[in-house]
């Protein structure tokens, strides 16, 4: 009786376990086999991660392989708002360390997301302080940050990048496709703490780092140019200033600077005025520096000889209702003296002998109707009317640099024609692009246009422009060790369609050494005061820059 009951009970327990086990097995079968695909997908999504690997942006070197732009790592702060418990307290601490608005941080932390940026590319100190807070859900990741060891040096040439390291301005923009590189990918397993497990990498496509740029800029010459330009800028209370130093034989831009400028490492806080690359973005009436074109054309066309004499009308020449003035009254002078003393009347008279077609022809040959083609973004050319649009009085204005506009770079290319034996050369800022292994992948050859003037005219012009420096309006450009040639210019600014009586652009264009020029330089100072003559404000900059640069180059050659 008892044993029968016991057996029944045993059977019941056994059946219970068998049934339970069967249910478990069935459930397991359901999960593992029937719903296999569904759960595998969820698990894969949790464990498998596909990450983009950012490439390193290319380095920018000067012509002597000195670094001008490099990449450094910096931390970017992010948060997982779903994990952060006391959001208000966390926001207060974070905003205090990062120096950002507390409400902004709180708003970010209040989002129903698992990832929000708090601040990208913070300082190492700030990152360390944040880590010390040990807030769960707050973390940092490393990002590459563009850094410029020379700070403001050549800022308008180098340019800037955005937060994602895409070029925004200057060479960083123009050569972005070379500098940027291509991102790589990794598909891997991650653990519960979202750490990648290297041993479970399913796919790895390495990033292709950006190529490096080798510039034609020389860091030392750039530094000299910026130093001297800054002196003039401050001394003459100028609104702006530009300098271009070029090798006339190759078109290599050795230095290009504008003021005001800005620190490339702190580009966010720069002023609107400091952003413009005035040397290539701004055009102005060049004034008397343009006489190099008139003089070259007249000599080339044999309309005048250096010793031809002209009556300079004692500084006042009436042509119809128009009166031409010279700054200093002159009587009869040779053509050479006219250029040396920068007589407007004499220059116009010489140009009239030549005629407007030829004047126009040489303006084109000297490049005043085209962009120079420099490899920098945003270049403009001066706006100059075609000959059809010239008025009856144009030939009384254009030869002395009025009714014509040019950028500082166009003027540099024009003076380089005289410095480079009559040829016009295309300026360049980048010499080579080299890949991360050091292999040259692109070279930018010297690009020379057709001859503008003959060697004979070149030699005559060099002698005339040397006279400007030695005994003319450009005496302040004269150097002790080297002979230079150049031309001063003081142009009235055009404001509301009229020539201003108190706002000028003082400029100087020149080359050195006269016998075998290796430098062509343009200096322009915008609205200097109280002194505003090109010979006073720009010529000393030319002298100091050329003197130091030639000394530097000769000591380097040895």
């Amino acid at each position: 009786m008892h044993s029968g009951i016991l057996r029944k009970r045993q059977f019941a327990v056994f059946l219970f376990f068998i049934l339970s086990l069967s249910i478990l097995v069935l459930r397991l079968f359901y999960i593992q086999v029937i719903k296999h695909g569904f759960y595998k997908k969820i698990a894969d999504e949790q464990h498998t991660v596909s990450l983009e690997i950012a490439p390193k942006r290319g380095i920018i070197f000067d012509r002597n392989m000195r670094v001008l732009a490099i990449n450094l790592h910096s931390d970017s702060v992010f948060a997982n708002p779903r994990v952060i418990k006391d959001k208000r307290k966390a926001a207060a601490s974070i905003s205090r360390i990062l120096g950002i608005d507390e409400d902004f941080v709180y708003e970010r932390l209040s989002k129903n997301k698992s990832f929000v940026w708090i601040k990208r590319k913070v300082s190492a100190e700030a990152s360390a302080s944040l880590k010390a807070l040990k807030i769960e859900g707050l973390d940092t990741i490393q990002e590459s940050e563009r850094s410029y060891p020379d700070k403001a040096l050549a800022c308008h040439v180098i340019g800037t990048v955005d937060i994602d390291n895409n070029g925004l301005e200057g060479l960083e923009l123009y050569y972005n496709k070379y500098l940027k590189g291509e991102p790589g990918w990794v598909v891997s397993t991650q653990d519960a703490k979202r750490k990648l497990l290297e041993s479970y990498q399913y796919e790895y496509i390495p990033p292709r780092d950006g190529s490096d740029l080798v510039l034609t800029i020389d860091e030392v010459i750039q530094s000299i140019a910026e130093r001297e330009l800054a002196k003039a800028f401050e001394k003459f209370n100028a609104k702006g200033a530009s300098i271009v130093v070029m090798d006339p034989r190759t078109g290599d831009i050795l230095a290009l600077a504008n003021l005001p400028n800005y620190d490339l490492n702190n580009a966010k806080n720069r002023s609107q005025e400091s952003i413009r690359n005035r040397a290539i973005n701004d055009f102005f009436e060049p004034g008397s520096v343009f006489k190099i074109v008139t003089a070259s054309a007249a000599l080339e066309e044999k309309a005048v000889l250096l010793n031809d004499k002209f009556d300079c009308e004692n500084g006042e020449w009436h042509i119809g209702r128009r009166v031409l003035h010279d700054h200093t009254p002159h009587g009869i002078m040779t053509f050479k003296e006219i250029i040396e003393k920068s007589s407007n009347i004499g220059t116009v008279k010489a140009a009239l002998r030549m005629g407007q077609e030829k004047m126009y022809k040489y303006m084109k040959l000297f490049g005043f109707y085209d962009k120079t083609g420099i490899d920098l973004p945003g270049e403009v050319a001066g706006i100059n009317r075609p000959i059809k649009g010239w008025s009856k009085v144009s030939m009384y204005a254009i030869p002395m640099g009025q009714e014509v506009t040019a950028t500082a770079l166009q003027l540099a290319c024009a003076i380089a024609v005289i410095a480079d034996n009559g040829y016009r050369v295309r300026p360049r800022v980048v010499k080579q692009v080299i890949d991360p292994t050091g292999k040259v992948i692109k070279e930018f050859p010297v690009n020379v246009s057709a001859r503008a003037i003959s060697t004979d005219t070149v030699l005559k012009m060099r002698s005339v422009l040397n006279g400007v420096v030695n005994s003319g309006t450009g005496k302040k450009a004269k150097m002790e060790d080297y002979e230079a040639g150049g031309k001063t210019g003081t142009a009235q600014k055009v404001l509301e369609g009229r020539y201003s009586q108190d706002r000028f652009i003082g400029s100087f264009i020149g080359f050195a050494p006269v016998e075998k020029p290796v430098l062509a330089v343009v200096v322009s100072v915008d609205e200097p005061h109280p002194v505003y003559f090109g010979g006073d404000v720009a010529a000393p900059v030319f002298r100091n820059v050329v003197n130091d640069t030639l000394r530097y180059l000769s000591s380097k050659d040895q």
Binding site: V67, H73, E198, S223, D481
Partner: protein, 129 residues
């Protein structure tokens, strides 16, 4: 015997499973070690980059100039005649600067030069780490 025969496959399966699990655990451990080493390497590389950046910063011509000017040291580039180019390699000895040939350091032709390897020479040894 019969029992052993029925348990053997289970034992083999269990050992194989344990070995597989062990292998996977080791792989995960290895991943963590790699990650740790990579992190350390990156820290060193970052430090190196930061230091070379600092050097470049300190060497910047504008910074050097302003630093020197602050100490009232005004430097200029050498004039034409200030730099003297030496035509041949020179050595500096106690008696001043002399031409290599005058102190007998110039390499001369030696008929028994091929026996050179027999004579002892000062050699640099690689330092042990």
């Amino acid at each position: 015997m019969r029992l052993l025969r029925s348990f053997l496959p289970i034992a083999i399966f269990t050992v194989a499973s344990l070995m597989y699990v062990h292998q996977q655990v080791e792989l995960v451990k290895l991943s963590y070690t790699i990650e740790k080493k990579e992190k350390a390497l990156n820290v060193i590389l970052d430090r190196r980059e930061q230091l070379s950046y600092n050097i470049k910063n300190l060497e910047a011509p504008s910074r050097l100039e302003s630093a020197l000017l602050a100490k009232n040291i005004d430097i200029t580039f050498p004039k034409k005649g200030n730099v003297v180019r030496m035509a041949r390699p020179y050595v500096i000895s106690g008696r001043g600067v002399s031409d290599m040939r005058s102190v007998g350091l110039e390499k001369r032709f030696n008929i028994f030069g091929f026996l050179d390897f027999l004579t002892p020479k000062a050699e640099a040894h690689q330092a042990e780490e």
